[in-house]
């Protein structure tokens, strides 16, 4: 296991507090937690892609970053208008 795989694995622990806020917080708190989870997942995927040493794996964090952005905007729009 190299340093990038180790960093990505340790960062997985960050999903625990994010999940707690998603489950126990209000709608906006949960949305903030969801966006942080997206940033965390993208960073972890970058570390794993570098750790595995395969350039094709770097497409996954690019897609994750785009999906995090779009989903955050969609949820913010939905929460702001319909609740």
């Amino acid at each position: 296991m190299n340093e990038f795989l180790l960093a990505g694995t340790v960062m997985l622990a960050g999903f625990v507090p994010v999940g707690v806020v998603c489950l126990r917080g209000g709608p906006i708190d949960a949305l903030a937690a969801l966006e942080l989870a997206g940033a965390l997942a993208t960073t972890i995927l970058l570390c794993l892609a570098e750790g595995f040493g395969r350039p094709s794996y770097f497409d996954v964090p690019v897609v994750c970053a785009v999906v995090t952005w779009v989903s955050g905007l969609v949820f913010a729009r939905f929460l702001g208008r319909h609740i």
């Binding site: 999903f15 507090p17 906006i28 942080l36 570390c47 350039p55 964090p61 970053a65 905007l73 913010a76």
Partner: protein
């Protein structure tokens, strides 16, 4: 020397992302929590970008990492701002300042 720098950058990235996640739990209001969301979009990813560039240089992996981190850096504030506006609309029904609020 380069290996030590990569280790330090990855350590800072891990600590930054974990502190952001813990800050989300510790803070009480949504506005305070959004500050930690913003930090998760910038500090950790930039450290990982620097580590990847030190490790690989300007290769395909480096360019992909630049694209990913650049996208996060540009898109993060937009998402956080939209979330803050949605929270404000949920709280007050509009986004205008209250009469007792001082707006610079």
């Amino acid at each position: 020397m380069t290996g030590a720098a990569i280790d330090v950058l990855l350590g800072v990235a891990v600590v930054a992302q974990l502190v952001s996640a813990l800050g989300l739990v510790v803070m009480r209001t949504a506005a305070d929590r959004l500050h930690y969301t913003s930090a998760a979009f910038t500090v950790g990813p930039f450290c990982v970008l620097a580590a990847v560039l030190l490790h690989d240089g300007m290769t395909t992996s480096g360019y992909d990492t630049i694209a990913t981190v650049g996208l996060m850096f540009l898109a993060g504030p937009i998402v956080v701002h939209a979330t803050a506006r949605a929270g404000r609309r949920l709280e007050l029904g509009h986004t205008r300042p209250r009469p007792d609020e001082r707006v610079p």
